[in-house]
Structures are given as structure tokens and as C-alpha cells.
Symmetry: C2
Subunit: 502 residues, 2 copies
């Protein structure tokens, strides 16, 4: 049968038109853009396959600094987390003497919470009960005693899933009452992608690059008032610590945002997946929840707030497990039932990801046998990230035409880059943003894969790129030096003599 199949004539193919074409495709899908896995990254994949097949390039390896994927960059998993997941996956190991008791206790407890004591059962749509309780306990401890109700906690498939679910609840209306979503610029492109997919209105508020990417409350007011002319702003999204911009928000600034949301009746979405990634000793992570509570009952009993966390970042970097949770405050009880209904259609988040999340919020305690190794692994990873954050800033700022704010937190540098007018013109002729041309040439010359700033949004006329600080210290140093040499070459190639002398 299959053999006969290969005889195909042009006529055959023409007989039926395709149902799904670029013309008939859902226009909201067409409008979606996601630079973190966009054209530069696709090109990097091509080059990588070429290298494997023996193609010649001026380099021997593609270095992917495009995505916050710690393990892919060589970071080792936290042993305790993997022990618990392995025990849950294959409970016969609970009898094995080579696994520590504290890991067994945690695994046993998680399995108790699963139907039939199996990771293979669906959990409740909100997640496994005991894991939700552990998360609530973690939040309470993190926030110095501010109460956390496990009924407000929902496990998710990575943080992205929670963010999209909450946005989906909020998006409604047509014309002037179309839902407006305030997002920072630069932003993590999940936000713009979800807004496009749901046909909501994206409202940009610009972070202040000159002040270390701070969120300026006046800029929020400006953006809000301008948007009110054509839509109904209903949500404000904040990413803290910032992605791609790496800033850590001050407590005062969070208060201002919450006061603004209170006044303007906005739903607050706080993307706090980098809460464990703070490197600058001048900065501290403040959760939106805790600051809200400190503002008093007028605020904490009313402001609708969803906060998101994930297994993918922090010191564990377990992206592949797709674990995450959200805590939702002050949701109308009927709306809450609707949220559960919406989540239930997808049945449940992956249960092994839920188990991984449990370990992150419930790590070994100082008196437990796994504590020394856990503590050692955690501080080594976070210490190295802090060092790499400083080195990245330092090396980049020494390059003429590159200016990089301190990487206070998260996993990325987002420097501004000078692109000579002739390169801007060339990019225009090629139909691409100037920083995409820059990243493309960098990739072709050096094998380094980073993401153009245009994929995250930036002020008109400025150019940036986002790179992760995740490669090993040695590799990151080589990467930064190659980048420096490329940048100088790029400037020379596209600058006139006068420009170079200026």
C-alpha cells in the first residue's frame, strides 16, 4: 500500500485546496510573536544541524544564550529534588537504602496525596492538596507571617499556564470596552503573545532605562490615561525581578503600583518567578502580596492580585518539569468557581512537576540528613549566578557602544547597543529590525545565539539584546569576549570614518 502511495502527479495535488492556509488561519494566531524562540533561534538550530553534518562555520559550537534554560547550559539538578521525583516515579525505591530518609518522607507524603498513591493519576485541577498546603506554608514564611490560604493556591503547568488562564478570565468586551492589559516595555513576550492571541489591547508602560529599568509611577499614569481613550484598562502586569531587564523593584515602587491599581480598579498580575534570583546586595525581593498586606486592610481585602511562581528558574532551573503555581487574592467566589471550571477542562498540571514544586517550597530543613548537600548545591548555584551577573555587566560596559544596567536579579542582561545608521539602513532594506540584523550577524560570525531587543519591546530608536548569564563562568567569559570583538568589528564595518573618530 505504502509503496503505491509514492506515485503522485501534479493533478492529484491540485484536486483539493487546503482548508488551513495563511489566508484562513486564525488571525489572532498569526498576530502572535515569541522572540525567545523566534527567527534567530530557528536559524541557530539550522546552523547547529549544519555543524553536525560537517558544514564549515567560523566556530565549532552554537552557544544558546537565548533562553533561561539552566540545565541546557550545564547547571546540575538539585540532588534532593531529583531523589524525591525518582522516588515518586518508582515507589519501589522507597525500600532502597541508597535514598535518604527525608527524601523518602517527602515522596511518601506526596504519593499519599495522589489518587491510588500514583503519580499517574490525575490530580484535582487545582493541584494535589498537600502540595497546595506546602505552598501556602512557604508563602507565609517568605512573607514573614502574612497569612496564606491554600484554597487560593493553584498548581499550574509552568508559570505561563497560570498567566494565560488569568488573562483569559479577564479578557472581554468590544470597542471602547475592550479589555486593556498594561505590560512593561521591555516585557517577556509571553504577555504580548497571549494578548494578541486573545485579541485584547496591549498597553505599554515603559521602564526607565536611565534609572536601572525602574518602574516610574508617572509613566503608569500616562499609559493608563492614553489607553482609556480607546479601551478599558483592566489589568496591570509586573515582572519582578524583571525579565528581560533584570531590575529588582523597590518596596516603595511596589506600594505605588498597588495604590495605583487600587485607585484605578485594576487586577494585578505579579510575575515573581525570579523571586530567588536576586544578586545585588543593595536589593531585596519584596512580594506584591506582602507589600499589599503592609498597606492595610483597605488594600489587602480588596485588591485582586495573582502572583506566579515556577520550578523553572530560581536555583533549581527545572524547566522541563513544567511546574508552577499561582496564588490568587480577593477573587470573587463565583469567579473562583469559574476559574476552577476553566482549569478542569485541561484536567490537571503534570503531577511530577507538582512534586518538583513541592520540593522547592519544602526543601530540607537544617536538622534533616539532606540539608548539607542541598545547602551546598543551592548556594553554589546562586553564588555563581551572582558572580556571572557582575562579570556580564562589567565586561559589557567596557565595550564602546554597549551600555548595560546592573543585573540585579533574574537571569538576563539587556544592554542597549549602538547600531550605526548604515547598519540601520541595511536592516531596513532587509525588512528586519536593526537589532535583529545585529543578532543574526553575531550568530553567523560567532555561533552565539541571543535575542534582539525588538522581540521584547523597547523605546523607538533604541536597540538592545537579551542574553542569559547561564553558561558556565569560563564559557560566559569567552562568549562575552567574542561578543565584544564582534561588536567592535560591527561598528567598524558600518561606521564612517567621522563616526568612528567622534
Amino acid at each position: 500500500m505504502a509503496q503505491k502511495a509514492t506515485v503522485v502527479t501534479r493533478e492529484n495535488i491540485k484536486m483539493r485546496e487546503k482548508t488551513l492556509t495563511m489566508e484562513t488561519l486564525n488571525p489572532q494566531v498569526k498576530a502572535v510573536e515569541y522572540a525567545v524562540r523566534g527567527p534567530i533561534v530557528l536559524k541557530a538550530g539550522e546552523i547547529e544541524r549544519g555543524l553536525q553534518q560537517g558544514q564549515k562555520h567560523p566556530f565549532t559550537e552554537v552557544i544558546k544564550a537565548n533562553i533561561g534554560d539552566a540545565h541546557a547550559m550545564g547547571q546540575k539538578p538539585i540532588t534532593f529534588l531529583r531523589q524525591v521525583v525518582a522516588l515518586c516515579s518508582f515507589p519501589e525505591l522507597l525500600e532502597s537504602p541508597s535514598f535518604p530518609e527525608d527524601a523518602k518522607v517527602r515522596a511518601g507524603r506526596i504519593l499519599q496525596g495522589c489518587g491510588g498513591q500514583s503519580l499517574g493519576s490525575y490530580s484535582a485541577s487545582q493541584g494535589v492538596d498537600c502540595i497546595r498546603r506546602d505552598i501556602a506554608a512557604y508563602i507565609k514564611q517568605r512573607d514573614k507571617g502574612v497569612p496564606a490560604d491554600w484554597d487560593n493556591v493553584y498548581l499550574t503547568t509552568g508559570a505561563s499556564d497560570g498567566i494565560v488562564s488569568i488573562l483569559k478570565m479577564l479578557v472581554s468586551g468590544q470597542g471602547l470596552s475592550r479589555c486593556g492589559v498594561m505590560i512593561p516595555i521591555p516585557q517577556y513576550p509571553l504577555y504580548s503573545a497571549a494578548i494578541a492571541e486573545m485579541d485584547a489591547v496591549q498597553i505599554n508602560y515603559y521602564l526607565d532605562e536611565d534609572h536601572c529599568w525602574a518602574l516610574d509611577i508617572n509613566e503608569l499614569h500616562r499609559a493608563y490615561l492614553a489607553a482609556k481613550e480607546h479601551c478599558h484598562p483592566r489589568v496591570i502586569c509586573i515582572i519582578n525581578p524583571g525579565n528581560p531587564t533584570g531590575q529588582v523593584q523597590s518596596k516603595k515602587c511596589i506600594e505605588e503600583v498597588l495604590h495605583f491599581a487600587f485607585e484605578e480598579n485594576l487586577f494585578v498580575m505579579a510575575d515573581e518567578v525570579y523571586q530567588d534570583n536576586v544578586y545585588s546586595t543593595d536589593c531585596q525581593f519584596h512580594s506584591f502580596k506582602k507589600v499589599l498586606y503592609e498597606m492595610g486592610p483597605e488594600y489587602f481585602n480588596t485588591v485582586e492580585l495573582a502572583s506566579f511562581h515556577s520550578t523553572s528558574k530560581g536555583y533549581s532551573g527545572e524547566c522541563g518539569f513544567r511546574g508552577g503555581y499561582m496564588e490568587v487574592l480577593n477573587l470573587d467566589p463565583e469567579v473562583k468557581a469559574q476559574l476552577v471550571k476553566l482549569l478542569s477542562v485541561r484536567l490537571c498540571p503534570p503531577v511530577s512537576g507538582q512534586a518538583a514544586m513541592d520540593v522547592i517550597v519544602n526543601p530540607p530543613l537544617p536538622h534533616e540528613p539532606s540539608y548539607p548537600q542541598f545547602h551546598e548545591e543551592k548556594s553554589t548555584i546562586l553564588g555563581a549566578l551572582a558572580e556571572k551577573a557582575r562579570m556580564t555587566e562589567h565586561i559589557l560596559n567596557a565595550v564602546p557602544g554597549i551600555k548595560c544596567n546592573p543585573v540585579q536579579g533574574a537571569m538576563y542582561a539587556f544592554p542597549s547597543i549602538f547600531i550605526p545608521p548604515r547598519a540601520v539602513e541595511e536592516a531596513k532594506a532587509l525588512g528586519m529590525p536593526p537589532d535583529m540584523l545585529y543578532c543574526l550577524r553575531l550568530l553567523e560570525d560567532t555561533g552565539i545565539c541571543i535575542v534582539p531587543g525588538s522581540g521584547f519591546g523597547q523605546r523607538e530608536g533604541t536597540h538592545h539584546f537579551r542574553m542569559t548569564i547561564l553558561p558556565s563562568m569560563e564559557k560566559l567569559k569567552v562568549l562575552l569576549e567574542k561578543l565584544r570583538d564582534f561588536h567592535i568589528k560591527f561598528l567598524k564595518k558600518y561606521s564612517s570614518l567621522e563616526e568612528l573618530e567622534r
Copy 2:
């Protein structure tokens, strides 16, 4: 801080109105219904918690026959699958003598395909390359040599995720050109929920209960022509083996559907997650792909077909891993790029679920050490399911007022039930469908949780329920006997004397 928080007055609460209320909620979210985890199931959860707290009920245990969740009903995991997942999760076990070599080889190969050889890295959005290749090889073998290109295979987060993604691509248009999606009635409510969420038009085609829930091609034509008056039918969804109806489609019927889709330019979505669950010796699973190929190049080079599979069903029943894949044929290349873009926003399916999927498509071979145990476990599970399918049909058909088609495949019985007019009236007065009243009373009387037929759709005036055949043989027998007794009691309670004597 937290202490002060508890002092709240009515005034405080009134100061700010909620942003997200039932009035402002996205109306498409409101329109979503998902009976498999609907009101009856929520009630069952309440009763279960009550029992734990010592509340008295006429039973000591809630039996959840509402959802195809094998492990929750006591089915044991396939050892080999869990060994591979545990090895992938904690690679130090690769050194352990207590794991078989073939499991180690598979785990090592999967890890080779992961960034940094870790399950904690993001995979490509389409899934891990080597797993996609294994799936293609499996499809080719299943379909007796029909070629399968791994580039057409996409890993998904359970089958649901793939189904929603493909629908999302297809849904577009307003008014007369609004996208119509043909679905069977009764259907699995993921379809109606996704259609509601995307604001597409649901086109019902009714399965023929009198002929063992067969798909009647004339009914397809009727539904299509009627729908064309008010929308643009673009997709036909088929569930084979059927959920909730348990029928296995004949090859002839599949040919008719494919011919119809060819003629009317419909995109075909074949939900084949129960492909390993065929119990009736008169039936055989035929994949839509294979039948399409047998119809010749005119068909197989043109008809756009997506087929879905999952780790959740079959003999493994690994629902919690959220593993699945889809194979997509004849997709326009530009549209394919759009699909990858859309999937990339959610980064990737859970990698441990991908690993589980790999084992299912690449199980131990007869010469490998794990084969005997694997084969024993698989045939025990499938044998028991077949026996339970027959017993369920048998016991149900012996009850007056219940009529059950043979459970040829899948995991459910969907019998029609006679509900006396007085019960119909009572349900009406309570504002619920008659079969929901029936299921509610059953739950309250016996602790048995099943789903009313109204949640899946059924012909006007008929009543059904869906129950799984997953409880252990002993428990299922008790369940069916309790159900029989309840049914007779229910009939007596609501029937007039004359009705009973008829």
C-alpha cells in the same frame, strides 16, 4: 502586620469594587462546560470530605467512576515505564544493578536527546527529537508500513493540548464565515468546551444509538448542510474508539468520513487516544491515517488530518504525566511554521511526560530482559478491562429501564436510562437535566459518582449516564449491583402504579 489585618469593616470592603465579577468575566469562559469534572463531581468531593470528618452517609466510601483515571482506581503502573522515568529523573540510578539494562538503554537515549542531558531542560517546542522519531516508527509499524515522517509529529501536554492547539489554528471568521466544528453527539466535553472558549460554532452530528453508536454518513451530510446555512463548517472531529460511547468504528465507516471530508474540504481531527483499548473480538482499531493511505494518493496527499494519542489511556493509564502526541498530515508549510510558533509560546510539553510517551511507543521487545514482565502486566490489564467491559454491559442490560450498547472499546459504558415523567418534572422544578437528578440521587444514596449524559450531549428526550469500567472487578461488580438496586428503587419512587405494571 498580619494580625492588624483581621480588623475589617463593611465600609472597607465596599470601597473598591471587584474588577473581575460574573458580569465582567470573559463570556466565552462562562460558556464553557465540562461535565467530567462538573457539579456531580464537586458534590462527590464534598461528600468525601464529609465522610473523612465523620459525617454519616448510607455508604462508607465514594466510588469515582466519573473519569478515565485508571491508577486512581487501583490499576498498577507498568513497571518498565516507571523504571525508565525514574532513571531519567535521577541518572545516578543508571549505575544501580537493580534496574534492567533495557530500561537503562532507553533512559540513556532519552537523556542524550535532552539539553544538558537533563529532564530539567526545555525541549524543543515540538518535543525531544529522538522521541518524535520513535513515535514515527511506532505509527509506521502500527499502520503496516504506511510511511510516517517524524517532522509531522508533535509532543503535547496530554492529547487535550494538541486538540486545543489545532482547533485554535482553525477557528476564525465572523457571521456566515464563522468556523463550524462538527463533533459527534454524544461527545467528550473537551470539544464543546474548547469550541465555546474559542467562540466557534458547534455542529452536532448524532451517533446512531440503535446501531451500536455507529457514525452514519447520512447524518453527517444532514448536519453539514444544516450548518452551512449559518456558518462555515471547516473541521470534523471523530473520537474512535468512542468516548463516552465505546464503539469502535469500522473501516468502511472511516472511509466514508474521509471521503466526505475530502469532498467538503474539511480538516479531519481524529481523537485516537483509545487505540489500544479494543475489547470486542468482532472489532479492530483502524487508524484514520492508514485508511486514508489505502484510499490512494488523491486522498493521502491532500486531506489535512491530525491524529491524537496520549499516555493517559491504553494499558498504561499514566494520566498524571500529561504526555501525548499528535501527527499532522498535509499541513501547509507556512501554517506548520505558525503552529510551531504557537506551541513555542508555552515553551514545551512536560519532558517526563514525553519520556513516558516514548516508552509506550517503544516498549520492550521480545528479546529484551524486561519483555516477560512487561508483556504480563500489559495483557493482565487489557484482559481485565475486556472482562469488565463485558460484565458491565451484561449486568446493566439485565436492569429494567437500562439499555447498554456493547462496550467495544475505550473505558466507558454509556447506557440509556428510562427516567419516569414525575422525576423529569422534579428535575425541571430544580432547574437541572433529568439525568443530573438521577446521578445526584445515586451519589447521595450509594456514594457512586458517575456523569449525566446531558454533559456529553444526547438526543432530545433521551437520558444516559457515563460510567468508567475502571474499578477492580470486585468493586465494579458491587458498584453495578448497587446501581441496579438504586435504579429499581428510583423507578418505583417516581412511577405511578400503571407505569410499573406496563
